[in-house]
């Protein structure tokens, strides 16, 4: 058994090559261990002091979000709020102030929960994940990363070091909403993110919609190109129908499969409506759930 605090990225990936598992905030790892989901790893390397992984930087036509950027930072960061609003919406809904202080975007993505809030907005925004090991760096799509609940295609010695997002074009906007039973310490019953790009006349030029907690992973809704050329209520009705049809939810303590299937359509419509409003230049406060009264009342 071993525990080390990495002082450099090279340190961290060298220890991972020897079998150590990384811990950042620990909120998934420690709670999961006590629930018997997975025992604490024998060899642990703490990566929380690698400041180079805690930065948000514009790099040419992309935005780089370091894996250690916390939900608390994301929800309040002006660039994320303006140009990647869906990620800010989702980050603001995670847990409570204390969980948002320790919870990181890298941990959230690598935990690969199908109910994770930041997953759907990252997917519609076209994010890729950067994985670093002693063998080098590779960048893969989130689709290729998530293989099932709690499972990823990352190799055992690969550390998630960043999420890379393309710069959204003009007249575009994104939003994430979720169905919830309470306003804090909640896990999405279902959720949806939308990213739209509008033509000059306000009709939809392109759109991407992803769904939360209705399949083994976050899923992208297929065939949304049928929405191109639509505007207003017609697009909302169409996306609700398509989203419900493509959802494959389970029944559990939080909702039945039928209820989830219906509600994810409602969430998809509301995410699309909010994304269209933002793409039109309207400012909707972060998170959309609170600004528009979606989800749990106080």
């Amino acid at each position: 058994m071993s525990f080390a605090i990495a002082t450099s990225l090279a340190d961290a990936i060298a220890l991972m090559a020897e079998g150590a598992r990384p811990v950042a905030g620990g909120s998934d790892l420690v709670v999961g261990a006590r629930h018997g989901k997975a025992p604490l790893p024998d060899a642990i390397v703490a990566i929380d002091r690698l400041d180079e992984l805690a930065e948000i930087t514009v790099e040419g036509p992309t935005l780089r979000i370091g894996a250690l950027v916390t939900h608390a930072t994301l929800m309040a960061h002006p660039l994320i709020g303006n140009d990647y609003s869906g990620v800010a919406d989702a980050s603001a809904l995670v847990g409570s102030p204390s969980t948002r202080n320790v919870g990181t975007i890298g941990g959230n993505v690598m935990n690969a929960s199908p109910a994770m809030d930041t997953g759907a907005p990252l997917l519609v925004l076209g994010a890729t994940v950067e994985l670093t090991s002693i063998r080098g760096i590779r960048e893969i799509s989130l689709d290729a990363l998530w293989t099932g609940p709690g499972r990823t295609s990352a190799l055992h010695d690969e550390l998630c070091t960043a999420l890379i997002l393309p710069t959204p074009s003009a007249r575009s906007g994104s939003a994430y909403v979720r169905l919830e039973y309470r306003r804090a310490m909640e896990i999405a019953v279902v959720g949806a993110a939308a990213m739209v790009h509008l033509d000059a006349d306000g009709t939809i030029a392109s759109v991407a919609v992803a769904l939360t907690a209705v399949a083994p992973t976050i899923i992208m809704v297929d065939a949304v190109h049928a929405l191109a050329g639509l505007a207003g209520p017609a697009a909302g009705i169409a996306i609700a129908e398509v989203a419900s049809k493509q959802a494959a939810p389970i029944s559990d303590v939080r909702a039945s499969d039928n209820y989830r299937r219906h509600c994810v359509g409602v969430m998809a419509r509301r995410a699309l409506e909010a994304a269209v409003r933002r793409a039109s230049g309207e400012s909707i406060a972060i998170p959309v759930n609170r600004a528009l009264g979606i989800g749990a009342a106080r």
């Binding site: 058994m1 071993s2 525990f3 605090i5 811990v23 905030g25 620990g26 909120s27 420690v30 709670v31 261990a33 006590r34 629930h35 604490l40 024998d42 642990i44 703490a46 929380d48 608390a72 847990g95 409570s96 102030p97 204390s98 969980t99 202080n101 320790v102 306003r183 804090a184 310490m185 106080r298």
Partner: protein, 158 residues
């Protein structure tokens, strides 16, 4: 089977260094209570839900049930024992008592840690900001109104 690894670390709690030798998998709340002996911090759900175990780590509220104690070395830990000024209660503690914001008292230390962190960052929060600041702390007695009132009174300087 592996024997749990014992790690020797110094933890700085309320400005005092405590050398402890602990299993690497122990959570911070159990070390603060069981090794250091500061029992003001409570263990509630042990699941990152209730906020009874809230401490400040470098000034930010963190659920100490879900944080590895060994990871806290080199950071400044503040518990409810650290908010008093000598024998004088912190104004928020006084206001909680006076407003009836304390009933069974189990959630109170965690509430105090979340609220003092909020007030340090935002000295004049709105009611909504207070409720969001305390949203990771459950109270099953008071209905929250009197706790929110105590934070408001503290912000107003009384």
């Amino acid at each position: 089977m592996n024997v749990p690894l014992k790690v020797s670390v110094d933890l700085t709690v309320n400005g005092v260094d405590y050398p402890v030798t602990i299993d690497q998998g122990r959570n911070l709340v159990s070390v603060i209570r069981g090794e250091i002996g500061l029992t003001g911090t409570k263990e509630g759900c042990d699941d990152c839900e209730c906020g009874a175990c809230m401490v400040l780590l470098d000034g930010r509220p963190v659920n100490s049930c879900s944080y590895l104690a060994v990871q806290a070395q080199g950071r400044l830990i503040t518990t409810v024992e650290g908010v008093m000024d000598g024998d004088d209660l912190h104004p928020l503690q006084r206001n909680l008592l006076e407003s009836g914001g304390v009933q069974c008292g189990f959630c109170t230390p965690g509430m105090i840690m979340s609220a003092t962190a909020l007030l340090a960052r935002n000295p004049h929060p709105t009611e909504e900001e207070i409720r969001i600041g305390l949203s990771g702390n459950l109270c099953r007695c008071t209905g929250y109104a009197k706790i929110v009132a105590a934070v408001q009174a503290t912000a107003a300087g009384s």
